[in-house]
């Protein structure tokens, strides 16, 4: 029992970390969720752009759909694959890959429909639909969704079989998708929305309401496309999202290894207090280092 739990916690932490990174990069490879309001706003104030306006839904339900779809197809497929005589680990891997492929395809379709339909609603602002800006960003976004759905499906299987949750695999996948979407939307998207979209504003300030919509349209060379965004956010926003989701799943799992149920509760609350103390120090550090706001310099 003990080695299974240790293996389960380690695997769960790793898969959650990777899922976090890929989910954030997917939401940046096509402008999704909250920062998408900036890309939507830009043509209305005259900044015509070549971004991929991927407006599917909020990130939590999106990721829940890709994860649940992949997990359900995988779960049903395992029953068929056992006929081929594979052992359980191989069949789980193959089924998860096929399920994630389907989820990526559906995401590509939804994103394509959303981009074209949104641009078609922008007739008054003279925004043209550039097929190449869509076609270059689409496979990148689909790839990231493939990986993120794969990690979430495998994580759901790990939580169900190695950690012993009573929920069925698709249900766990749906819960994980919602949680991952909520986390990814709050952490990594700030790096995209406040920094990458506004590089021509100096580092060190939030974006005032009056400046919203004034996004970067040109990049390091020529016009910027959505494929230029993951190149930037992978260096910071992605790993922070991965760290957050990975820590959540890992802390939750690892404290269950020893002792009874009350031990894990006490340890979880202890870790909450430790993180809180760290947050207070972080705020003090930024206040002292950055100092009060000064325009210019």
């Amino acid at each position: 029992m003990l080695p299974t739990l240790i293996l389960g916690s380690a695997l769960a932490g790793l898969l959650a970390f990777l899922a976090g990174i890929f989910e954030n990069e997917d939401s940046d490879a096509g402008s999704a969720s909250n920062p998408n309001s900036q890309v939507q706003l830009a043509p209305q104030i005259g900044h015509l752009h070549r971004y991929y306006n991927k407006a599917i839904a909020g990130e939590p339900p999106q990721n829940a759909l890709w994860a649940t779809l992949a997990a359900t197809v995988a779960y049903l497929l395992i029953g068929q694959l056992s006929i081929l005589g594979l052992n359980s680990i191989q069949s789980v891997l193959i089924a998860a890959i096929i399920g994630s492929l389907l989820a990526a395809l559906i995401q590509g379709l939804y994103g394509f429909l959303a981009h074209v339909s949104r641009v078609a609603s922008m007739k008054n602002f003279k925004q043209i639909l550039y097929w190449d800006s869509l076609v270059s960003a689409l496979p990148l976004s689909m790839t990231f969704v493939f990986f993120s759905a794969l990690c979430l499906t495998l994580l759901a299987f790990v939580i169900h079989s190695l950690m012993g949750s009573p929920f069925s695999v698709p249900l766990i996948a749906m819960f994980l998708g919602f949680t991952l979407g909520a986390i990814g939307s709050s952490t990594g998207d700030v790096h995209y929305g406040a920094e990458r979209l506004y590089q021509h504003y100096k580092f060190g300030s939030g974006i005032a309401i009056s400046k919203q919509g004034d996004i970067d349209v040109k990049g390091e060379y020529g016009y910027r496309n959505s494929v230029d965004t993951p190149y930037f956010t992978m260096r910071f926003g992605g790993p922070v999202t991965g760290l957050t989701f990975g820590l959540l799943i890992f802390i939750d799992a690892v404290f269950r290894i020893y002792g009874g149920p009350w031990t894990s509760v006490i340890l979880v609350f202890a870790s909450i207090i430790i993180i809180f103390i760290f947050l207070v120090y972080l705020e003090k550090y930024t206040r002292d280092k950055y100092g009060p706001f000064e325009e210019g310099s």
Partner: protein, 250 residues
């Protein structure tokens, strides 16, 4: 601005919500009743597409009043009321008509809470909330009936797939030039996508020609709807180009 005034900027008149809902209920209930009787269920798949259209139109009517919190939240709660009623009712083996009526009541109660207690000041809130809950309940009940035995393993996917299929058409077409014609075509595309996915799952669970039929019917529906949607896009869009630079910056 609301979309209930009846005419869009291009002068076309919108289809009324109640009319769409009536078609959805009649076709959907017919589909649900007949599912148990005939073995070739794939003929009935087009009967559920009007319900998707009606739900998407419900989201559109509500969201166009400007909710301040995102258009998608309406889709979440409408589907949640419809789905929870159906899932709980499945255990009772309830008559479909009773389930739909319960969902209608649930949607209406939620709408009344939103309108009277939270004071959202949206005139059509109660009506559209009830329509949304009832139409999504019809969809989910039909999808459950597609499968030969009770499939609780598929409940999460049904819930979230229908949620997205219902809220995406309006969210994906949002903008100043949005009109009902294109949104409903898009809703048809996504309805056939959703039934195609469930046809695939049916094929995985119970391989047979009948199950493959669901997938094929959905695929042909998809082809029809996407051509209709694309023609609609060509009519509305400012311009298309393979590549190029936008007009010079200020």
């Amino acid at each position: 601005m609301s979309v209930d005034t009846g005419a869009t900027s291009t002068g076309e008149t919108d289809i009324k919500s109640i009319r769409l809902f009536a078609i959805a209920i009649i076709a959907g209930l017919a589909g649900i009743m007949l599912e148990e009787k005939i073995s070739f269920v794939f003929i009935l798949v087009p009967a559920i597409w009007p319900a998707f259209l009606s739900s998407a139109n419900g989201v559109r009517s509500l969201a166009s009043y400007g909710l301040g919190t995102g258009t998608s939240s309406i889709g979440y709660w409408g589907t949640a009321v419809g789905a929870t009623t159906v899932y709980a009712g499945m255990l009772l083996g309830l008559n479909p008509v009773v389930e739909i009526a319960l969902a209608l009541a649930g949607g209406a109660i939620t709408g009344i809470c939103a309108q009277k207690i939270i004071k959202m000041k949206i005139p059509v809130m109660i009506r559209e909330s009830a329509i949304l809950a009832a139409a999504t309940a019809v969809i989910i009940r039909f999808l459950i009936g597609l499968f030969p035995q009770q499939v609780t393993i598929l409940f999460p996917l049904m819930y979230i797939a229908v949620t997205l299929a219902v809220l995406h058409p309006y969210n994906g077409s949002m903008g100043a030039g949005e009109n009902q014609r294109r949104t409903l075509w898009l809703s048809g595309v996504e309805a056939s996508m959703t039934t195609a996915v469930f046809g695939l799952l049916l094929l995985l669970m119970a391989p047979s020609w009948g199950s493959a039929g669901v997938l094929l019917v959905s695929a042909s529906g998809f082809a029809v709807f996407i051509i209709g949607w694309y023609r609609s896009v060509k009519k509305d869009i400012y311009g298309m180009a393979w590549t190029g630079f936008p007009a010079a910056e200020h």
